[in-house]
């Protein structure tokens, strides 16, 4: 579905990722783990078109998408949930959800998806007329996911959805991702620092360090890997917040 080959990208003259290759197949949840500054977000932003790659190729559903504008990539069904949630804080919850369906015109489909979002996140329905900026962190993350679902994505790019959330909410978000995959059949590329939790819902994972992929494999193999355990999972199996 998505195939990234030998991508290098960065800001100015500094390369944040260097020769990275990853694949995502339909129906999979793939996780990118790594410390701060490893280049995970940069990779995600390069896929969504926010950053132009300096080298390499990105192919999505047999089309080359490196160098394509973000709004065009969004139109092709690749929807990113930006880091820090990317809530339109001065707009209401309803307006945020409407914006998610910005590129769609099928009224019935939109209404149906809105209904589904409310079913997943009843809290959002309660807060419909409220300014999105006044929501709690967890609610904002629900809104960010809800808004992405309103776009009818074929590939969801999630950038640290658990960032800054209380443990109980982290679990809820991870649970939601699991549900999105199992119940709704979404394909998800997930960036997480919360490696332990993320590996429980992912099929496969890539470990990034200083702009490169240093390890890849299925989730179980990564969890059993000693280096990964030491660096990202901690002794007790709890995640390490770097």
């Amino acid at each position: 579905m998505l195939s990234v080959t030998n991508i290098s990208a960065g800001y100015g003259s500094i390369l944040a990722i260097n020769g990275v290759s990853i694949d995502v197949h339909p129906g999979e949840v793939v996780v990118l783990i790594g410390a701060n500054g490893a280049g995970k977000s940069t990779l995600l932003r390069t896929i969504s078109g926010a950053i132009k790659p300096k080298e390499g190729q990105i192919v999505y559903q047999d089309q080359k998408i490196d160098g394509v504008k973000p709004h065009t990539i969004a139109k092709m069904g690749v929807v990113q949930i930006p880091e820090g949630r990317g809530i339109l804080s001065r707009m209401t919850v309803k307006e945020n959800l409407d914006m998610g369906a910005y590129l769609r015109s099928d009224k019935n489909g939109i209404a149906k998806d809105l209904h589904n979002v409310f079913e997943k996140f009843p809290r959002l329905k309660e807060r419909l007329g409220q300014n999105a900026g006044t929501l709690s962190g967890g609610e904002q993350q629900m809104l960010a996911i809800g808004r992405a679902l309103m776009a009818k994505p074929q590939l969801l790019l999630m950038d640290e959805p658990s960032l800054g959330l209380a443990p109980v909410l982290v679990e809820f978000i991870i649970e939601t991702i699991h549900e999105l995959r199992v119940k709704d059949g979404y394909t998800i590329l997930l960036v997480e620092q919360n490696a332990n939790q993320a590996l429980t819902v992912a099929d496969r994972g890539y470990v990034m360090e200083t702009g490169r992929i240093v390890l890849e494999g299925d989730s179980q193999a990564l969890r059993d890997n000693e280096d990964v355990q030491k660096a990202y999972l901690g002794k007790t199996g709890r995640s390490v917040q770097v």
Binding site: H71, P82, K94, M99, L103, K125, R147
Partner: protein, 296 residues
């Protein structure tokens, strides 16, 4: 009475100018070059009527179009920069336009452009234009394009990944703002019968910004109210006339402290709308106030 009417007419033109500032502002673009666009509209329409004998309405529209075209061309480099740098670019633009007009003999250079046909119904034309813009802005507010403007103003990066073509949206907003300013300039020129480059210096652009910040930045009623109030108040406080800019400054500081969202906020408009529909017995469900949770 004549005096009062002339003040109200100028207030109408100022409302148009405040709206011209507000439209690009909605997408986060702060322009203090609106007086430059105004002067382009003023001179272009004046040339049309005084030199070529064109009727008033098409001349004013041509003035608006000329400003829009310049706005479009300026908008392309302006898209790449934000905040203080955009401010400087538009400031520079306004001054360049002024200096160019000072040096073109065809339109009177520094001495100004006299003999522009007087439009005696300027009051009606100015407020007719304001009315048209109110209708358009109100429709925009509820439209897909309006949401896109708002989203770009709220968070560009997010708007982009949602699928908003932010380049197009910002360019449209910027050149439409220039168009509105050009219309304001055309109406102004045919009211004054005479224009000179000095009338369009940067302080006027700053005034349009002040109108907007004072009136409120959340909804287009803000700049409308701000322009109207701040044009009329100093006129009725003649003794304070010389201190007008100081009054602006003091008001702005006061507003920032007491009511940073401006005089008219989104909430106040929604409250008024609800009260209006309740009074006239229409179903209020269409106009949600914040806190209400029912869908449309």
């Amino acid at each position: 009475m004549d005096y009062l009417l002339s003040v109200i007419t100028i207030a109408g033109i100022n409302i148009i100018m405040a709206l011209s500032f507000y439209l690009p502002f909605m997408t986060g673009q702060i322009s203090i070059g609106q007086a430059g666009f105004m002067s382009i509209g003023a001179y272009a329409s004046a040339i049309c009527t005084a030199k070529f004998g064109l009727p008033y309405v098409p001349a004013v529209l041509i003035g608006g179009m000329c400003a829009a075209i310049v706005g479009f061309i300026l908008g392309i480099p302006a898209l790449r920069i934000k905040g203080i740098y955009l401010l400087l670019l538009t400031l520079g633009f306004g001054e360049i336009v002024r200096v160019v007009f000072i040096n073109v003999d065809y339109i009177g250079a520094a001495a100004g452009f006299p003999g522009i046909p007087y439009q005696e119904h300027t009051l009606l034309y100015a407020y007719g234009t304001v009315l048209i813009f109110i209708v358009l802005f109100n429709r925009l507010r509820k439209s897909r394009m309006g949401r896109a403007l708002q989203a770009v103003g709220s968070d560009e990066d997010t708007a982009e990944v949602i699928g908003v073509n932010i380049t197009a949206v910002k360019l449209i907003a910027f050149s439409s703002g220039a168009f509105i300013a050009g219309i304001g300039g055309g109406i102004f020129a045919h009211y004054q019968e005479y224009v000179e480059p000095l009338m369009f210096d940067v302080m006027h652009s700053v005034e349009f910004l002040v109108f907007t910040i004072f009136g409120g930045i959340q909804i287009f009623w803000g700049p409308i109210f701000g322009a109207f109030a701040l044009t009329l108040i100093p006129e009725f406080l003649r003794f304070i006339q010389e201190w007008r800019m100081e009054l602006y400054g003091a008001l702005l500081i006061l507003m920032m402290i007491v009511r940073p969202q401006g005089f008219i906020s989104l909430d106040s408009v929604k409250t008024l709308e609800n009260a209006f529909w309740r009074l006239f017995g229409k179903n209020t469900a269409a106009v949600l106030s914040p806190g209400q949770t029912e869908g449309k």
